[in-house]
Amino acid sequence: MLEAWLTLIWIVIKILLIILPLMGAVAYLTLAERKIIGRMQARMGPNRAGLFGVLQPLADGLKLLCKEIILPSSANRFLFIVSPILVLAPALAVWAVIPFSEGLVLANINAGVLYLLAMTSLGVYGILIAGWSSNSKYAFYGSMRAAAQVISYEISMGFALAGVLLASGSMNLSQIVLRQAGGVWHWFVIPLFPLFFVYWVSAIAETNRAPFDVAEGESEIVAGFHVEYSGMGFAIFFLAEYANMIFVSTLAVLLFFGGWLSPFEGIPILGKWFAWMPGIIWLLAKISLFLFLYLWLRATFPRYRYDQIMRLGWKILIPLSLLWVIVVALFVYYHVGIWFA
Protein backbone atom coordinates (compact mmCIF):
# COMPACT_ATOMS: atom_id res chain seq x y z
CA MET A 1 0.00 0.00 0.00
CA LEU A 2 2.73 2.42 1.05
CA GLU A 3 4.75 1.48 -1.98
CA ALA A 4 1.83 2.27 -4.27
CA TRP A 5 1.48 5.68 -2.65
CA LEU A 6 5.18 6.35 -3.00
CA THR A 7 5.15 5.54 -6.71
CA LEU A 8 2.12 7.79 -7.13
CA ILE A 9 3.83 10.65 -5.33
CA TRP A 10 6.99 10.08 -7.36
CA ILE A 11 4.97 10.25 -10.58
CA VAL A 12 3.29 13.48 -9.45
CA ILE A 13 6.69 14.97 -8.66
CA LYS A 14 7.93 14.00 -12.10
CA ILE A 15 4.86 15.56 -13.70
CA LEU A 16 5.44 18.75 -11.76
CA LEU A 17 9.08 18.73 -12.85
CA ILE A 18 7.87 18.84 -16.43
CA ILE A 19 4.83 21.11 -16.08
CA LEU A 20 6.32 23.86 -13.93
CA PRO A 21 9.34 24.55 -16.15
CA LEU A 22 6.97 24.35 -19.11
CA MET A 23 4.76 27.05 -17.60
CA GLY A 24 7.83 29.19 -16.99
CA ALA A 25 8.92 28.61 -20.57
CA VAL A 26 5.48 29.62 -21.82
CA ALA A 27 5.57 32.80 -19.75
CA TYR A 28 8.97 33.77 -21.07
CA LEU A 29 8.12 32.71 -24.59
CA THR A 30 5.48 35.43 -24.61
CA LEU A 31 8.11 37.93 -23.52
CA ALA A 32 10.59 36.60 -26.07
CA GLU A 33 7.93 36.88 -28.73
CA ARG A 34 7.21 40.52 -27.94
CA LYS A 35 10.91 41.33 -27.66
CA ILE A 36 12.00 39.54 -30.83
CA ILE A 37 9.13 40.77 -32.98
CA GLY A 38 9.72 44.22 -31.56
CA ARG A 39 13.38 44.09 -32.56
CA MET A 40 12.42 42.88 -36.02
CA GLN A 41 10.28 46.00 -36.34
CA ALA A 42 13.13 48.19 -34.99
CA ARG A 43 11.29 48.70 -31.71
CA MET A 44 12.35 47.57 -28.24
CA GLY A 45 9.42 45.57 -26.96
CA PRO A 46 8.44 45.62 -23.28
CA ASN A 47 11.23 47.07 -21.14
CA ARG A 48 9.44 48.69 -18.21
CA ALA A 49 8.62 45.86 -15.80
CA GLY A 50 11.94 44.91 -14.26
CA LEU A 51 15.30 44.92 -16.01
CA PHE A 52 14.71 44.62 -19.78
CA GLY A 53 11.09 43.76 -19.02
CA VAL A 54 11.86 40.42 -17.35
CA LEU A 55 8.93 40.83 -14.99
CA GLN A 56 6.47 41.55 -17.80
CA PRO A 57 5.06 37.97 -17.98
CA LEU A 58 4.44 38.04 -14.23
CA ALA A 59 2.66 41.37 -14.54
CA ASP A 60 0.56 40.06 -17.42
CA GLY A 61 -0.31 36.88 -15.55
CA LEU A 62 -1.23 38.77 -12.42
CA LYS A 63 -3.39 41.15 -14.39
CA LEU A 64 -5.29 38.31 -16.06
CA LEU A 65 -5.66 36.52 -12.73
CA CYS A 66 -7.27 39.58 -11.17
CA LYS A 67 -9.68 40.15 -14.02
CA GLU A 68 -13.32 39.30 -13.82
CA ILE A 69 -14.39 36.12 -15.59
CA ILE A 70 -17.33 37.17 -17.70
CA LEU A 71 -19.91 34.54 -18.60
CA PRO A 72 -21.92 35.64 -21.64
CA SER A 73 -25.62 35.40 -20.75
CA SER A 74 -26.46 33.29 -23.78
CA ALA A 75 -23.45 30.98 -23.44
CA ASN A 76 -23.67 27.35 -22.46
CA ARG A 77 -22.17 27.75 -19.01
CA PHE A 78 -20.86 24.24 -18.49
CA LEU A 79 -19.16 23.89 -21.87
CA PHE A 80 -17.94 27.46 -21.74
CA ILE A 81 -16.00 26.71 -18.58
CA VAL A 82 -14.91 23.22 -19.60
CA SER A 83 -13.48 24.09 -23.01
CA PRO A 84 -10.32 25.91 -21.83
CA ILE A 85 -9.52 22.80 -19.81
CA LEU A 86 -10.16 20.64 -22.88
CA VAL A 87 -7.66 22.72 -24.80
CA LEU A 88 -5.01 22.81 -22.10
CA ALA A 89 -5.16 19.16 -21.02
CA PRO A 90 -3.95 17.62 -24.31
CA ALA A 91 -1.37 20.39 -24.66
CA LEU A 92 0.11 19.27 -21.34
CA ALA A 93 -0.54 15.54 -21.77
CA VAL A 94 1.69 15.30 -24.84
CA TRP A 95 4.73 16.00 -22.69
CA ALA A 96 4.38 12.60 -21.03
CA VAL A 97 6.16 10.81 -23.88
CA ILE A 98 8.74 13.45 -24.77
CA PRO A 99 12.26 12.22 -23.98
CA PHE A 100 14.40 15.08 -22.69
CA SER A 101 17.56 13.04 -22.70
CA GLU A 102 18.51 9.40 -22.83
CA GLY A 103 16.15 7.68 -20.38
CA LEU A 104 14.80 11.01 -19.13
CA VAL A 105 11.17 10.46 -20.08
CA LEU A 106 7.99 10.24 -18.03
CA ALA A 107 6.39 7.40 -19.99
CA ASN A 108 8.65 5.56 -22.40
CA ILE A 109 5.83 3.95 -24.36
CA ASN A 110 6.39 2.19 -27.65
CA ALA A 111 3.48 3.86 -29.45
CA GLY A 112 4.73 7.33 -28.54
CA VAL A 113 4.16 8.92 -31.93
CA LEU A 114 0.63 7.51 -32.14
CA TYR A 115 -0.11 8.91 -28.70
CA LEU A 116 1.12 12.32 -29.82
CA LEU A 117 -1.06 12.24 -32.94
CA ALA A 118 -4.07 11.32 -30.82
CA MET A 119 -3.41 14.04 -28.26
CA THR A 120 -2.80 16.83 -30.76
CA SER A 121 -6.06 15.93 -32.48
CA LEU A 122 -7.96 16.12 -29.20
CA GLY A 123 -7.10 19.78 -28.83
CA VAL A 124 -9.50 20.63 -31.68
CA TYR A 125 -12.48 19.61 -29.55
CA GLY A 126 -11.70 22.26 -26.98
CA ILE A 127 -11.48 24.91 -29.70
CA LEU A 128 -14.73 23.80 -31.35
CA ILE A 129 -16.57 23.66 -28.04
CA ALA A 130 -15.19 27.04 -26.98
CA GLY A 131 -16.44 28.64 -30.17
CA TRP A 132 -19.80 26.95 -30.05
CA SER A 133 -20.56 27.40 -26.38
CA SER A 134 -19.75 31.15 -26.49
CA ASN A 135 -22.84 31.57 -28.68
CA SER A 136 -21.21 34.43 -30.55
CA LYS A 137 -20.87 34.52 -34.31
CA TYR A 138 -17.25 35.66 -34.22
CA ALA A 139 -16.26 32.91 -31.82
CA PHE A 140 -18.14 30.43 -33.96
CA TYR A 141 -16.46 31.52 -37.19
CA GLY A 142 -13.12 31.41 -35.46
CA SER A 143 -13.60 27.91 -34.17
CA MET A 144 -14.89 26.68 -37.54
CA ARG A 145 -11.84 28.07 -39.26
CA ALA A 146 -9.49 26.71 -36.63
CA ALA A 147 -11.06 23.27 -36.74
CA ALA A 148 -11.07 23.07 -40.54
CA GLN A 149 -7.47 24.19 -40.66
CA VAL A 150 -6.23 21.88 -37.94
CA ILE A 151 -7.98 18.89 -39.44
CA SER A 152 -6.64 19.61 -42.96
CA TYR A 153 -3.09 20.06 -41.85
CA GLU A 154 -3.15 17.06 -39.58
CA ILE A 155 -3.19 14.85 -42.67
CA SER A 156 0.03 16.18 -44.12
CA MET A 157 1.55 16.27 -40.65
CA GLY A 158 0.55 12.64 -40.18
CA PHE A 159 2.27 11.70 -43.44
CA ALA A 160 5.37 13.58 -42.38
CA LEU A 161 5.41 11.61 -39.14
CA ALA A 162 4.78 8.38 -41.10
CA GLY A 163 7.89 9.13 -43.12
CA VAL A 164 9.91 9.39 -39.93
CA LEU A 165 8.40 6.15 -38.66
CA LEU A 166 9.41 4.41 -41.89
CA ALA A 167 12.91 5.80 -41.65
CA SER A 168 13.46 4.91 -38.02
CA GLY A 169 11.40 1.72 -37.87
CA SER A 170 10.05 2.64 -34.45
CA MET A 171 7.26 4.59 -32.83
CA ASN A 172 9.18 5.08 -29.62
CA LEU A 173 10.51 8.62 -29.55
CA SER A 174 13.69 7.68 -27.72
CA GLN A 175 14.35 5.00 -30.33
CA ILE A 176 13.75 7.51 -33.12
CA VAL A 177 16.31 9.86 -31.63
CA LEU A 178 18.84 7.09 -31.06
CA ARG A 179 18.49 6.02 -34.69
CA GLN A 180 19.94 9.44 -35.59
CA ALA A 181 23.05 8.98 -33.45
CA GLY A 182 26.49 9.29 -34.98
CA GLY A 183 26.73 12.89 -36.13
CA VAL A 184 24.87 15.65 -37.88
CA TRP A 185 24.87 13.78 -41.17
CA HIS A 186 22.82 11.01 -39.58
CA TRP A 187 19.97 13.31 -38.65
CA PHE A 188 16.73 12.56 -40.45
CA VAL A 189 16.40 16.11 -41.70
CA ILE A 190 18.81 15.30 -44.53
CA PRO A 191 17.05 12.38 -46.20
CA LEU A 192 13.60 13.61 -45.12
CA PHE A 193 14.01 17.30 -45.86
CA PRO A 194 10.74 17.66 -47.82
CA LEU A 195 8.94 15.92 -44.98
CA PHE A 196 10.56 18.24 -42.48
CA PHE A 197 9.35 21.18 -44.53
CA VAL A 198 5.84 19.76 -44.68
CA TYR A 199 5.95 19.01 -40.98
CA TRP A 200 7.06 22.50 -40.05
CA VAL A 201 4.47 24.29 -42.22
CA SER A 202 1.73 21.98 -40.95
CA ALA A 203 2.93 22.49 -37.40
CA ILE A 204 2.58 26.24 -37.69
CA ALA A 205 -0.88 25.82 -39.21
CA GLU A 206 -1.75 23.23 -36.57
CA THR A 207 -0.96 25.65 -33.74
CA ASN A 208 -2.94 28.41 -35.51
CA ARG A 209 0.03 30.74 -35.56
CA ALA A 210 0.95 33.41 -38.10
CA PRO A 211 0.95 33.27 -41.09
CA PHE A 212 -1.82 30.69 -40.68
CA ASP A 213 -3.73 32.50 -37.93
CA VAL A 214 -7.00 33.16 -39.75
CA ALA A 215 -8.66 31.55 -36.75
CA GLU A 216 -7.94 34.75 -34.89
CA GLY A 217 -7.91 37.19 -37.79
CA GLU A 218 -8.10 40.42 -35.82
CA SER A 219 -9.51 42.50 -38.63
CA GLU A 220 -12.42 40.19 -39.43
CA ILE A 221 -13.33 38.17 -36.38
CA VAL A 222 -11.69 40.03 -33.52
CA ALA A 223 -9.91 37.24 -31.61
CA GLY A 224 -11.42 34.09 -33.03
CA PHE A 225 -12.75 31.29 -30.91
CA HIS A 226 -11.80 32.91 -27.61
CA VAL A 227 -13.37 36.36 -28.09
CA GLU A 228 -15.84 35.84 -25.29
CA TYR A 229 -13.24 34.66 -22.80
CA SER A 230 -11.73 36.98 -20.23
CA GLY A 231 -9.39 36.64 -17.29
CA MET A 232 -8.08 33.18 -16.57
CA GLY A 233 -10.20 31.47 -19.24
CA PHE A 234 -8.41 33.53 -21.84
CA ALA A 235 -5.08 32.97 -20.12
CA ILE A 236 -5.55 29.21 -20.33
CA PHE A 237 -6.13 29.36 -24.09
CA PHE A 238 -3.03 31.47 -24.36
CA LEU A 239 -1.06 29.02 -22.24
CA ALA A 240 -2.21 26.09 -24.35
CA GLU A 241 -1.30 27.88 -27.57
CA TYR A 242 2.22 28.60 -26.41
CA ALA A 243 2.66 25.17 -24.83
CA ASN A 244 1.67 23.72 -28.21
CA MET A 245 4.23 25.91 -29.94
CA ILE A 246 6.94 24.60 -27.66
CA PHE A 247 5.72 21.03 -28.10
CA VAL A 248 5.66 21.26 -31.87
CA SER A 249 9.19 22.67 -31.88
CA THR A 250 10.32 19.89 -29.55
CA LEU A 251 8.83 17.28 -31.83
CA ALA A 252 10.58 18.80 -34.83
CA VAL A 253 13.87 18.52 -32.95
CA LEU A 254 13.22 14.95 -31.82
CA LEU A 255 12.10 13.66 -35.21
CA PHE A 256 14.39 15.51 -37.59
CA PHE A 257 17.25 17.09 -35.68
CA GLY A 258 18.54 14.35 -33.47
CA GLY A 259 16.79 15.32 -30.22
CA TRP A 260 19.26 15.56 -27.38
CA LEU A 261 22.22 14.42 -29.51
CA SER A 262 25.13 16.79 -29.80
CA PRO A 263 25.56 18.37 -33.25
CA PHE A 264 29.33 17.95 -32.84
CA GLU A 265 29.13 14.22 -32.36
CA GLY A 266 31.64 12.38 -34.53
CA ILE A 267 33.56 15.52 -35.46
CA PRO A 268 37.21 14.91 -34.44
CA ILE A 269 38.07 17.85 -32.12
CA LEU A 270 34.81 19.68 -31.49
CA GLY A 271 33.11 16.42 -30.56
CA LYS A 272 35.51 15.92 -27.65
CA TRP A 273 35.23 19.51 -26.47
CA PHE A 274 31.48 19.33 -26.17
CA ALA A 275 31.26 15.74 -24.93
CA TRP A 276 30.62 16.89 -21.33
CA MET A 277 27.49 18.81 -22.32
CA PRO A 278 24.36 17.05 -21.04
CA GLY A 279 21.90 16.12 -23.76
CA ILE A 280 19.08 18.20 -22.37
CA ILE A 281 21.01 21.40 -23.03
CA TRP A 282 21.37 20.50 -26.69
CA LEU A 283 17.67 19.70 -26.78
CA LEU A 284 16.73 23.02 -25.23
CA ALA A 285 19.08 24.91 -27.52
CA LYS A 286 17.56 23.29 -30.59
CA ILE A 287 14.03 23.94 -29.34
CA SER A 288 14.90 27.58 -28.80
CA LEU A 289 16.10 27.83 -32.38
CA PHE A 290 12.80 26.52 -33.64
CA LEU A 291 10.82 28.84 -31.39
CA PHE A 292 12.88 31.71 -32.73
CA LEU A 293 12.02 30.58 -36.24
CA TYR A 294 8.32 30.61 -35.25
CA LEU A 295 8.58 34.23 -34.16
CA TRP A 296 10.69 35.15 -37.14
CA LEU A 297 8.06 33.78 -39.50
CA ARG A 298 5.36 35.64 -37.61
CA ALA A 299 7.26 38.90 -37.86
CA THR A 300 7.81 38.45 -41.58
CA PHE A 301 4.82 36.97 -43.35
CA PRO A 302 1.35 38.42 -43.86
CA ARG A 303 -1.63 36.24 -43.05
CA TYR A 304 -2.82 33.74 -45.64
CA ARG A 305 -6.33 33.99 -46.96
CA TYR A 306 -8.57 31.12 -45.87
CA ASP A 307 -8.83 29.56 -49.34
CA GLN A 308 -5.07 29.89 -49.82
CA ILE A 309 -4.52 27.98 -46.62
CA MET A 310 -6.79 25.22 -47.79
CA ARG A 311 -5.12 25.08 -51.21
CA LEU A 312 -1.66 24.94 -49.69
CA GLY A 313 -2.70 22.18 -47.34
CA TRP A 314 -4.64 19.94 -49.70
CA LYS A 315 -3.01 20.58 -53.06
CA ILE A 316 0.62 21.07 -52.18
CA LEU A 317 1.57 19.70 -48.79
CA ILE A 318 -0.43 16.48 -48.88
CA PRO A 319 0.77 15.39 -52.37
CA LEU A 320 4.32 16.41 -51.48
CA SER A 321 4.31 14.42 -48.24
CA LEU A 322 2.65 11.43 -49.91
CA LEU A 323 5.29 11.42 -52.63
CA TRP A 324 8.16 11.66 -50.19
CA VAL A 325 6.74 8.92 -47.98
CA ILE A 326 6.94 6.63 -51.01
CA VAL A 327 10.48 7.83 -51.73
CA VAL A 328 11.44 7.14 -48.11
CA ALA A 329 9.92 3.68 -48.35
CA LEU A 330 12.10 3.02 -51.39
CA PHE A 331 15.14 4.42 -49.55
CA VAL A 332 14.50 2.06 -46.69
CA TYR A 333 13.86 -0.91 -48.95
CA TYR A 334 17.09 -0.41 -50.89
CA HIS A 335 19.12 0.73 -47.84
CA VAL A 336 20.11 4.02 -49.39
CA GLY A 337 22.94 6.01 -47.85
CA ILE A 338 24.13 5.99 -44.26
CA TRP A 339 20.67 6.62 -42.83
CA PHE A 340 19.03 3.39 -43.89
CA ALA A 341 22.01 1.07 -43.88
Partner: protein
Protein backbone atom coordinates in the same frame (compact mmCIF):
# COMPACT_ATOMS: atom_id res chain seq x y z
CA UNK B 1 7.42 34.73 -71.89
CA UNK B 2 8.46 31.15 -71.35
CA UNK B 3 11.60 32.26 -69.59
CA UNK B 4 9.71 34.42 -67.17
CA UNK B 5 7.30 31.54 -66.61
CA UNK B 6 10.19 29.24 -65.73
CA UNK B 7 11.63 31.95 -63.53
CA UNK B 8 8.34 32.31 -61.71
CA UNK B 9 8.08 28.58 -61.18
CA UNK B 10 11.60 28.38 -59.76
CA UNK B 11 10.88 31.38 -57.58
CA UNK B 12 7.81 29.81 -56.06
CA UNK B 13 9.32 26.33 -55.83
CA UNK B 14 12.41 27.45 -53.93
CA UNK B 15 10.40 29.99 -51.90
CA UNK B 16 12.92 32.64 -52.88
CA UNK B 17 10.58 35.49 -52.06
CA UNK B 18 9.84 34.09 -48.65
CA UNK B 19 13.56 33.88 -47.90
CA UNK B 20 14.04 37.42 -49.09
CA UNK B 21 11.34 38.52 -46.64
CA UNK B 22 13.02 36.60 -43.85
CA UNK B 23 16.35 38.19 -44.65
CA UNK B 24 14.82 41.66 -44.34
CA UNK B 25 13.36 41.02 -40.89
CA UNK B 26 16.56 39.22 -39.93
CA UNK B 27 18.64 42.21 -40.89
CA UNK B 28 16.40 44.63 -39.01
CA UNK B 29 16.61 42.32 -35.99
CA UNK B 30 20.34 42.97 -35.85
CA UNK B 31 20.11 46.74 -36.18
CA UNK B 32 19.55 49.16 -33.31
CA UNK B 33 16.01 49.94 -32.23
CA UNK B 34 15.02 53.47 -33.15
CA UNK B 35 12.80 53.80 -30.09
CA UNK B 36 13.27 56.89 -27.93
CA UNK B 37 12.54 55.95 -24.31
CA UNK B 38 10.43 59.03 -23.73
CA UNK B 39 10.55 60.04 -20.08
CA UNK B 40 14.27 59.28 -19.94
CA UNK B 41 15.15 60.51 -23.40
CA UNK B 42 13.68 63.40 -25.39
CA UNK B 43 13.21 63.69 -29.09
CA UNK B 44 15.51 66.33 -30.57
CA UNK B 45 13.54 69.56 -31.05
CA UNK B 46 14.09 72.55 -33.27
CA UNK B 47 15.27 75.88 -31.80
CA UNK B 48 12.09 77.25 -33.35
CA UNK B 49 9.93 74.95 -31.28
CA UNK B 50 6.87 76.80 -30.04
CA UNK B 51 6.12 75.73 -26.49
CA UNK B 52 5.22 77.54 -23.29
CA UNK B 53 4.85 81.34 -23.44
CA UNK B 54 7.16 83.72 -21.60
CA UNK B 55 7.95 87.43 -21.33
CA UNK B 56 11.61 88.41 -21.57
CA UNK B 57 13.61 91.12 -19.84
CA UNK B 58 16.62 93.12 -20.93
CA UNK B 59 19.97 92.22 -19.41
CA UNK B 60 19.60 95.06 -16.88
CA UNK B 61 16.38 93.52 -15.55
CA UNK B 62 14.00 95.94 -17.20
CA UNK B 63 11.00 94.26 -18.78
CA UNK B 64 10.98 94.52 -22.55
CA UNK B 65 7.28 94.84 -23.11
CA UNK B 66 6.16 98.40 -23.87
CA UNK B 67 2.46 97.69 -24.10
CA UNK B 68 2.13 98.41 -27.83
CA UNK B 69 -0.63 95.76 -28.17
CA UNK B 70 0.68 94.45 -31.51
CA UNK B 71 0.62 90.91 -30.14
CA UNK B 72 -2.94 91.35 -28.98
CA UNK B 73 -3.88 92.46 -32.48
CA UNK B 74 -1.94 89.62 -34.10
CA UNK B 75 -3.36 86.87 -31.92
CA UNK B 76 -5.82 84.87 -34.04
CA UNK B 77 -7.28 83.18 -30.99
CA UNK B 78 -7.85 86.41 -29.05
CA UNK B 79 -5.93 84.86 -26.15
CA UNK B 80 -4.09 88.02 -25.13
CA UNK B 81 -5.57 90.78 -22.98
CA UNK B 82 -3.48 93.89 -22.40
CA UNK B 83 -3.99 97.08 -20.47
CA UNK B 84 -1.23 99.68 -20.45
CA UNK B 85 -0.49 102.84 -18.51
CA UNK B 86 2.34 105.31 -17.90
CA UNK B 87 4.66 104.17 -15.16
CA UNK B 88 5.95 106.52 -12.43
CA UNK B 89 9.21 107.07 -14.35
CA UNK B 90 7.22 108.17 -17.37
CA UNK B 91 7.72 105.06 -19.53
CA UNK B 92 4.76 103.17 -20.99
CA UNK B 93 4.27 99.70 -19.48
CA UNK B 94 1.49 97.14 -19.26
CA UNK B 95 -0.59 96.95 -16.12
CA UNK B 96 -2.34 93.78 -17.22
CA UNK B 97 -0.82 91.24 -19.58
CA UNK B 98 -2.91 88.04 -19.51
CA UNK B 99 -2.66 85.13 -21.89
CA UNK B 100 -5.29 82.41 -21.73
CA UNK B 101 -3.26 79.23 -22.29
CA UNK B 102 -6.45 77.36 -23.21
CA UNK B 103 -7.13 79.73 -26.10
CA UNK B 104 -3.50 79.92 -27.18
CA UNK B 105 -2.67 77.62 -30.08
CA UNK B 106 1.08 78.29 -30.08
CA UNK B 107 1.08 79.81 -33.56
CA UNK B 108 3.88 82.21 -32.64
CA UNK B 109 2.27 85.23 -34.33
CA UNK B 110 2.65 87.26 -31.13
CA UNK B 111 6.37 86.61 -31.12
CA UNK B 112 6.60 87.66 -34.74
CA UNK B 113 4.56 90.80 -34.12
CA UNK B 114 6.54 91.93 -31.07
CA UNK B 115 8.87 94.83 -31.96
CA UNK B 116 11.00 94.40 -28.81
CA UNK B 117 11.14 90.59 -28.62
CA UNK B 118 9.29 90.62 -25.33
CA UNK B 119 6.74 87.84 -25.77
CA UNK B 120 8.37 84.56 -26.85
CA UNK B 121 7.54 80.90 -27.03
CA UNK B 122 10.03 78.77 -25.15
CA UNK B 123 11.03 75.26 -26.15
CA UNK B 124 9.50 73.92 -22.94
CA UNK B 125 6.47 71.72 -23.53
CA UNK B 126 6.17 69.96 -20.18
CA UNK B 127 3.84 72.14 -18.19
CA UNK B 128 0.43 71.71 -16.68
CA UNK B 129 -2.25 73.40 -14.60
CA UNK B 130 -3.60 72.04 -11.37
CA UNK B 131 -6.48 74.37 -10.57
CA UNK B 132 -9.14 76.37 -12.32
CA UNK B 133 -7.86 79.76 -13.41
CA UNK B 134 -4.25 78.68 -13.70
CA UNK B 135 -4.71 78.66 -17.44
CA UNK B 136 -4.57 82.47 -17.34
CA UNK B 137 -0.89 83.29 -17.53
CA UNK B 138 -0.57 86.67 -15.84
CA UNK B 139 2.19 89.16 -16.41
CA UNK B 140 4.01 88.08 -13.24
CA UNK B 141 3.85 84.46 -14.22
CA UNK B 142 5.03 85.12 -17.78
CA UNK B 143 7.94 87.21 -16.52
CA UNK B 144 8.83 84.51 -14.01
CA UNK B 145 8.84 81.91 -16.75
CA UNK B 146 10.98 84.25 -18.82
CA UNK B 147 13.47 84.61 -15.96
CA UNK B 148 13.57 80.87 -15.46
CA UNK B 149 14.16 80.05 -19.12
CA UNK B 150 16.11 83.13 -20.22
CA UNK B 151 19.28 81.18 -20.91
CA UNK B 152 17.52 78.61 -23.06
CA UNK B 153 15.48 81.26 -24.87
CA UNK B 154 18.59 83.25 -25.72
CA UNK B 155 20.40 80.11 -26.86
CA UNK B 156 17.53 79.08 -29.14
CA UNK B 157 17.32 82.57 -30.70
CA UNK B 158 21.05 82.57 -31.31
CA UNK B 159 20.95 79.11 -32.90
CA UNK B 160 18.09 80.18 -35.14
CA UNK B 161 19.86 83.35 -36.26
CA UNK B 162 23.12 81.58 -37.02
Amino acid sequence: MSLSFAKRQINSLLLLELFRGLSITGRVFLTRAITIRYPEEDTPISPRFRGMLALRRYANGEERCIGCRLCEAACPALAITIEADVRSDGSRRTTIYDIDAFKCMHCGFCEEACPVDAIVLTSEMHYHMEARGENIFTKDKLLAIGDLYEEKIAQDREKDNA
